[in-house]
């Protein structure tokens, strides 16, 4: 518990006392860190996604392609600046600025490390802090929406308008969930200042379970798992990232709100998006993953939380969070808009509200009745969890009622698993084969249906080890309707069945 009183842990009083040139260094430092992290995040994302898709990724510019995003940025600057004739000039020019500036500002309260000495001056490794620190982040991320909405509106084009509206609706919806997920952290930390929230996660907190005293984990991600999960999901929606990248759904809306933007203006939108990603990653580290403090095995070493070392732990946590973003993009398909919105409003928001009440009740009752944490968890947490699980079970049973009834009927033999296909096609004439038993009935009707029972051919590497005849048999049996009739030689896949019949 004495860890809390570490001399290097900055508190609110340590801010606002810096010399002016220290402030300047910090401002330029934050700016530089954000730009560098953006360049890193882009190349990191492209490399990791490439590996997930069994590609190599960019590997031409710089060692192993590491300068690719810098080259792309320079190339964007040298591109022509196009503006559609119908665009609203001043707003069109201002929108990228409105998106970028708040993105930079949101980062100003993120703690990067403890008190260090820069050229002999002791100063916290954090640009600034305020009693309402986290509110600054939320306010800035909300301001960023203006840039997106106005950019889409001012383009005077259909796709950007739709993209910006979607984007705005999505961001405000998920901002609710994000804001609610943070409340429980404030409950535990008793402060909204980022440096004090990091300080609150410093020592292991005392957990006593019916008399047994143990050192519990101190990260809020462990203490408040539900909040953490809601936060992670909400910020993926908030930053318009896959699988929630509906405003930029290429297949529907071209590029979304920035379809009409080119050159450096497009680069600014791109920069803002990646800075937002870095900021929410850093905020996740600050609120839930112990901030710049070393994770457990390293924290045994006394020097781990002093000097410049914490910058390393902080970077590691942010890169880990960025990796999760990329991982989600590489794994999950894009959601449908209605599913996405109903997930935000009908699942995340009520869950977050109930969770806040549960946490507050546990803390208040535990304090008032002077119970130890184990008893609180037992007498309050277990009944609430039981009620919640029962509610979820009832809800899911009610929702799946139709499916269950159908499954019971099928089990009793009342229905077949699949209905036989209705005969909507004309009767088989002289040109049509009689429908074969077992085969898909429509294939005989003349529609160009792909073969339904196609078997994936074995991989070439496997085939080379097997005898040739067996492999050809597998491929040939993939053709529909002719068991053994076709040899590998005459069954070219481009020949439709009808021509076979006519011949």
């Amino acid at each position: 518990m004495s860890l809390l009183a570490s001399a290097d842990q900055p508190t609110l009083e340590d801010f606002g006392t810096d010399v002016w040139w220290i402030v300047l260094i910090k401002i330029v430092g934050v700016f530089g860190i954000l730009v560098l992290l953006t360049l890193f995040a882009i190349i990191f994302e492209r490399k990791v996604v490439a590996r997930m898709q069994q590609r190599i990724g960019p590997n031409r510019v710089g060692p192993r392609g590491s300068l690719q995003s810098l080259a792309d940025g320079l190339k964007l600057a040298l591109k022509e600046d196009i503006m559609p004739a119908l665009a609203d000039r001043p707003v069109y020019f201002l929108a990228p600025v409105l998106a970028t500036v708040p993105a930079f500002l949101a980062f100003s309260v993120i703690p990067l490390g403890p008190t260090v000495s820069i050229f002999g001056e002791r100063t916290p490794l954090q640009l600034t802090d305020a009693p309402i620190g986290v509110l600054i982040v939320l306010a800035c991320s909300a301001m960023g929406i203006y840039g997106i909405v106005l950019g889409g509106w001012a383009s005077g084009s259909t796709y950007p308008l739709l993209g910006s509206l979607r984007s705005a609706a999505q961001m405000v919806s998920y901002e609710i969930a994000m804001g609610l997920s943070i409340v429980a952290v404030f409950l535990y930390a008793g402060s909204m200042s980022t440096s004090e929230i990091v300080a609150a996660q410093a020592g292991g907190n005392q957990v006593s379970f019916f008399g047994f005293e143990t050192q519990g984990p101190s990260w809020f991600a462990v203490l408040l798992p539900v909040s953490f999960v809601i936060y992670v999901i909400a910020v993926v929606g908030e930053t318009n990232r896959a699988p929630f990248d509906l405003p930029e759904a290429e297949s529907e809306l071209v590029g979304g709100f920035h379809t009409e933007y080119s050159s450096l203006k497009f680069a600014l939108f791109f920069l803002a998006e990646y800075i937002n990603m870095v900021t929410v990653s850093a905020l996740a580290a600050t609120l839930f993953l112990g901030g710049w403090r070393a994770p457990w095995p390293i924290s045994i070493w006394d020097g781990a939380n002093t000097g410049w070392w914490p910058l390393l732990w902080w970077t590691a946590k942010v890169v880990l969070a960025l990796f999760v973003f990329v991982w989600l993009r590489g794994t999950l398909p894009r959601m449908r808009y209605d599913q996405f919105m109903s997930f935000g409003w009908k699942v995340l928001v009520p869950t977050a509200l109930v969770w806040i009440l549960v946490v507050a009740t546990m803390r208040t009752v535990g304090r008032e009745a002077d119970l130890d944490s184990g008893e609180v968890a037992f007498y309050i947490g277990v009944p609430i969890a039981a009620v919640l699980i029962a509610g979820l079970l009832i809800a899911s049973r009610r929702r799946n009622r139709a499916t269950r009834v159908a499954a019971l009927k099928a089990a009793a033999g009342a229905t077949r698993a699949t209905e036989p296909e209705p005969e909507v096609l004309p009767a088989a004439g002289p040109r049509r084969r009689p429908a074969q038993a077992g085969g898909p009935s429509r294939s005989a009707g003349g529609f160009p249906v792909p073969p339904m029972d196609l078997v994936v051919p074995p991989s070439p590497r496997l085939r080379s080890k097997e005898p040739v005849g067996a492999a050809a048999g597998v491929v040939a049996s993939g053709r529909r309707g002719r068991p053994g009739g076709a040899t590998a030689a005459d069954s070219t896949p481009t020949t439709p069945d009808r021509e076979d019949d006519d011949a």
Binding site: L127, T158, S263, M341
Partner: protein, 120 residues
């Protein structure tokens, strides 16, 4: 306490200068080759539909979402100070907040029931 916000203002100035410079420099750095097609809105190659100057019409659902956002954002605004001073307010604060959340939940349930959360 105000001096806490001075670095914030400094970062604002730097970021705004950077962004404004980029926007202003873009037309001069890049090439300029006139083409009628570049002035048209991009609609995947089809003739662009003329937009009314007011921005056209779009589904009213977006307004509804915006209003719901305001309702819940105000709820959050009330939740934050309560969460921070939860220790001082004790049981009284907890009961008050439970009542408040319950009233917002009634509105929420109403919106849900009337289909305000459905998208098609």
């Amino acid at each position: 306490m105000l001096s806490n916000y001075m670095p914030f203002v400094g970062l604002f100035v730097l970021a705004a200068a950077f962004a404004l410079f980029s926007v202003a420099a873009a037309p001069y750095v890049g090439p300029r080759r006139y083409n009628q097609a570049k002035l048209e809105a991009y609609e995947c190659g089809i003739e662009p539909v003329d937009q009314p100057l007011t921005g056209g019409r779009f589904p009213v659902k977006f307004y509804l979402t915006a209003m719901l956002f305001i309702v819940f954002d105000i709820e959050i605004v009330f939740l934050y100070p309560w969460a921070v001073s939860n220790e001082a307010l004790g049981v009284f604060g907890l009961v008050e907040m439970a009542v408040f959340i319950a009233t917002v939940f009634i509105a929420y349930a109403y919106v849900w029931r009337r289909g305000g959360l459905e998208w098609d």
